[in-house]
Symmetry: C2
Subunit: 210 residues, 2 copies
DNA sequence: GTCTATACGCGGATAGAC
DNA sequence: GTCTATCCGCGTATAGAC
């Protein structure tokens, strides 16, 4: 009932949101490569040209999807941050949450990192990305020697890199095909983050002369 | 002269290799998304149908490119391993080398990770990937508590994840646009690897109950 | 705001000649 | 082993009607 109402209202309702949802569906089924505006339109039940009333082109639709992904990510990060008390615990939990996000919302992850979106062309996306990481950044700052922006950036990049890599490996199948691979990869990311934080003094040492 | 010879010999010579080279060129110019067998054929100076004598389809050509990328990677890893004496130094150097590889051979990196190749469908690729990592794995084994395969795998995955993530961030522009970003990212990967190795005892602890 | 119809272009892949 | 020619299908984007 509600469903029918929602569907019927697409035509005079929230077509942009419906297209975003359809995009995630399609990416989940066939990957980002095969996604097309035309297919998203068909899936939504509107004509092929309708999307262009709301999105200038294919890229703008993907950018809208990426923003939705950032918001979901922020939601998850904030939940993890609230559940831990020490900065190290918080950051390890965020790392694990990122890996879970990649697996549980794979289409979102793909759009976020595989669509080749230029953030300078989509300021709203750049903003959403910053907001997702803001709270974690504050936790990282507490674990730096002086709390400077530079040190904080260094640490955040190291942790981001570690998490990103674990997520990528998981989706590439490096942790196996079982459903439990997600738990495994998330735990590994958590442990690796903890290990990296324990040895973090090496991050702030001067790099070797070159 | 030699060039002309080479070109002239494409038609009765090593067209597969020429197509692989053309593919890397194209990916470097326009990204993996826009690559097409047709364009690779044009670039190589042969007809659109010629590639299909050597590769069953587009994916097989990409798999051949991925194998070439693995070989280049192995070459770089082996060079780094020979230049350091401690396992920790070797692994840190390998991590940095991976980041450099991503930047300096970006098309290879893209094909390796963005083509969505299923290694079970391309056994030769799976083998090449294993060979690239074999020597680094031996170094990692020396840094585990008991030297078991399980512990070694855990450590290799953590380091692989860290390196992969740093490479991805670099190509995404997270380390800036300057040419020096490559050096920066490589150093960060090296330092993060060293930090992770220093704190590695946390990797081998039992994960929390869930 | 959505539809129908259309212009335009490209890629994958095959058949058959040489 | 390579070419020419061709079939087939798909997607992007726009124009103009409703």
């Amino acid at each position: 009932m509600a469903k029918t109402q929602t569907r019927a209202s697409y035509h005079h309702g929230d077509l942009p949101a419906a297209l975003v949802a359809a995009t995630f569906e399609l990416v989940g089924e066939s990957g980002l490569q095969d996604f097309s505006v035309a297919e998203a339109a068909r899936r939504t039940g509107v004509s092929i040209s309708a999307p262009y009333r709301h999105f200038a082109d294919r890229e703008e639709l993907l950018a809208a999807c990426a923003i939705a992904a950032c918001q979901e990510l922020k939601r998850r990060f904030d939940a993890e941050l609230a559940g831990e008390r020490t900065p190290a615990g918080q950051l390890s939990a965020v790392s694990a949450a990122y890996v879970r996000f990649a697996a549980e919302q794979r289409p979102m992850f793909e759009v976020l990192h595989g669509a080749g979106l230029d953030k300078t062309k989509h300021p709203a996306l750049a903003l959403a990305a910053i907001e997702a990481l803001a709270a974690a950044e504050a936790a990282a700052r507490k674990l730096t020697p002086t709390g400077s922006d530079e040190e904080t950036g260094t640490l955040v990049q190291a942790l981001t890199g570690l998490s990103q890599g674990h997520a990528t490996l998981l989706l590439d199948g490096a942790f196996g095909d079982q459903p439990s691979a997600v738990d495994l990869a998330a735990d590994r990311a958590r442990a690796a983050t903890a290990a990296l934080l324990r040895g973090r003094s090496l991050l702030f040492a001067e790099p070797k002369a070159r």
